[in-house]
């Protein structure tokens, strides 16, 4: 887990600001949930591996010695949302679009763009089975990434039911489906041979293995070209080996087709691709699944899918739901490496610093700062009457563009000397004109 110093925070907030603005443009409303959940809420929702990555909190007080945990740190934002919807149902609208940008914690091995504390930026729509939901979420995350300057991301889509249908068609016994999906999820990393070996290890019969890898070869080694047209063509070709095996497969292909069609006039249109092997790890997905990638990051920038049964695990009521999550740290690591942050991000702590020669003038500096702040300027009062050279050096080293110097003579005349550190130019003027003078200097610096 990491500390974020001011420049880090400014970059993070810039990205979060874009995410938030776009999400709200799509009608997603913000909620927040506690960092800590009851441990039962989380256990059993993320698969066996997930259970082990949950940070567990000791019971307090006299129970502390028992070593028992009753609470746990939030592992994702989806399970807490399902709990919130079950718990606050009466206060929430029937159709509920929410966004949530908060940290989650996983006791995972850190890697590039992977940390034990990281922020998820989620949109979820509760209460609708319409394919508009999936299409809009693809559109929203596409607008986020486009606004941040990404031009090369792809959103691969698939449907959990198509995966099941494909596995059934290949002859993988139902009991081995989960394991087979874990293996197929590694096609990008291990290639067909590696995955074939893992399928064998997991007990998938040779014929089934061959048939699965034949689908892979048929689909040009994986996902389709990007863009609605290519995705639709590839999906249409997902015939006898993938969709046309079970009625659920046929239905899933049709619903995925409609999702893709609906993205046609959105920012997602050039981004979508069909990948018959996209599996996504989490066990709660029931329909469409999505994942965003860029070429220069091994993991994904985000992903999501439909999970129509999760709320029911908390309330008994079935509430259809679908969500998409962007990983803040993943986005940041790529933006950092590509140098994608705008040059206009502020990096100085203030627009102007006040400086005095004598300790007894510090009160005067505070008064001037008060006036300058009222005009909207960010002002740092240098707190000591150090040597003027030392004070100006501090301002300069911090990137503060102007210094307002209050000397004895200036104070006597109600004046102040405003110095532009970049040009070295300075002017002495009435204190009431200082704000305008600083703003003029800032304007020049920017121009």
């Amino acid at each position: 887990m990491r500390d974020f110093l001011p420049d880090d925070v400014r970059r993070r907030e810039y990205v979060v600001g874009v995410v938030r603005r776009v999400y709200e443009r799509f009608g997603f409303e913000p909620i927040e949930t506690p960092a800590v959940e009851n441990i039962e809420t989380l256990l059993g929702k993320y698969g066996e591996e997930g259970n082990q990555l949950i940070f567990k909190i000791l019971k307090r007080g006299v129970h502390e010695g028992s070593g028992e945990a009753d609470l746990a740190l939030r592992y994702d934002l989806t399970v807490p949302l399902a709990r919130v919807v079950a718990e606050h149902r009466a206060k929430l609208p029937r159709l509920f679009k929410r966004c949530q940008i908060q940290p989650v914690w996983r006791a995972d091995r850190p890697a590039r763009g992977r940390f034990r504390e990281f922020y998820q930026c989620d949109v979820d729509t509760l209460g609708s089975t319409s394919p508009v939901v999936e299409a809009e979420q693809c559109a929203a995350v596409s607008e986020v990434l486009a606004e941040l300057g990404f031009g090369d991301f792809r959103i691969r889509v698939n449907d959990r039911r198509l995966l099941t249908s494909m596995l059934a068609g290949a002859g993988v016994p139902a009991a081995l489906h989960d394991g087979a999906l874990v293996a197929l999820d590694k096609l990008d990393r291990l290639g067909p041979d590696g995955v074939g070996a893992e399928l064998e290890q997991r007990g998938v019969p040779p014929g089934a293995r061959e048939r699965l890898l034949a689908v892979h070869a048929e689909h040009g080694g994986g996902d389709s070209a990007s863009g609605v047209a290519g995705a639709l063509a590839a999906l249409a070709a997902a015939g006898s080996r993938v969709a046309d095996v079970t009625p659920a497969g046929v239905e899933a292909r049709e619903s995925l087709r409609v999702v893709l069609e609906l993205t046609r006039d959105t920012a997602a249109a050039p981004r979508v691709a069909y990948d018959p092997f996209l599996a996504r790890g989490l066990s709660y997905y029931t329909g469409a699944i999505m994942e965003i990638n860029v070429p220069d990051l091994a993991g994904s920038l985000g992903g999501g899918g439909r999970y129509d049964n999760l709320v029911g695990m908390f309330s008994g009521d079935t509430v259809p739901a679908c969500g998409f999550s962007l990983g803040l740290e993943r986005i940041l690591v790529v933006m950092e490496e590509r140098g994608m942050f705008p040059a206009s991000l502020p990096s100085a702590p203030a627009d102007v610093m006040t400086a005095v020669f004598r300790p007894e003038d510090l009160g005067h500096a505070l008064r001037l700062a008060h006036v300058l702040r009222q005009s909207g300027l960010r002002v740092l009062v240098y707190p000591d009457a150090d040597k003027m050279g030392k004070q100006i050096k501090y301002a300069s080293s911090r990137g503060i563009p102007c210094v307002a110097i209050l000397g004895e003579d200036e104070i006597g005349r109600g004046e102040v000397t405003v110095k532009d550190l970049a040009s070295g130019r300075q002017e002495t003027l009435a204190e009431r004109g200082a704000g305008a003078a600083v703003k003029a200097m800032l304007g020049e610096g920017r121009g």
Copy 2:
């Protein structure tokens, strides 16, 4: 710990936005630290009671069964800051003003305005012993509260060294100082008699008890009138029983006098008061201490003080420091009860909702939404072709002011019907004019 639904989040973000803007105007730079710290970092920093209120996290993996905790949830933002300063010293400026707005966790009994997860809004200045630091922090929090609409808060100030001096002067043995301070801290709640009884319980000799309560009576039963002049007068009167006992007491009175003088031309001027009994719980304070109260809340809205030795506990280097913390939940509970939130806070999920009669027109709705969003509007696409009455009822129940209706005929003509739900007025116009029409309706609604 609580869930925050959209209206809660909007109120919280409004307050955080004001806090953040004011803090940055004063030159405080944002940092963020992890929710989780090594347990050794936190233990022993908050006193015995504090240790017990820390949420502790079980070791992971094979060590889980041991019941041992190696991590803990952040208990405040000050100790993590001291760790950050010790750890990242080389990357930080010599004079470092930072703000931090993040949650902390305490396993405390919940009460009005007190929760187990709550946000602190902190400003701290590292690297200066100047009284300008304290004065500016009082000014900054005063501007925050004034901007939020508080007109009746007071900032009581004192100095840890004056407390020590007063206790010594009263004849309290040094070993009983901590306990005596805990008792004196309850003067507001228990009154002189109750505190006298507690001092007796804690072993403070009768003569010392009498002398302490005599100081209380001398100071008019507690703190001075608000305002620099009153505070200075009361402080000057803190003579033979309080300051003039030890050289450190005399020095502390002088430095507190300068702090108060420096607030004279800031937003804190009418707010400050001197309270010889203000003690503050945390053990790391070394100099000035401050606390903000309003009449209708038993606890404080915030507080802080100088802690010149805390960074040294992590690095060996002494780094002078002083901080002020506002409690977000305390502020919110008072604002809620007093109805202080601006009427202009948004509460609808969108400015306009699209509605269609036929499922095959949903793609068209997504296209229109895309165009409207590009013009800056927040748009909710109703995801199903439900009966129009049901759709409009949904918009109305959510407070969405306009609906853009795409009927078969309208679509054929490239038109859309924009309906203002408040007035019931509607007009059918070319799709490209829809954004302007919606904005005109929003403008009227506001006017």
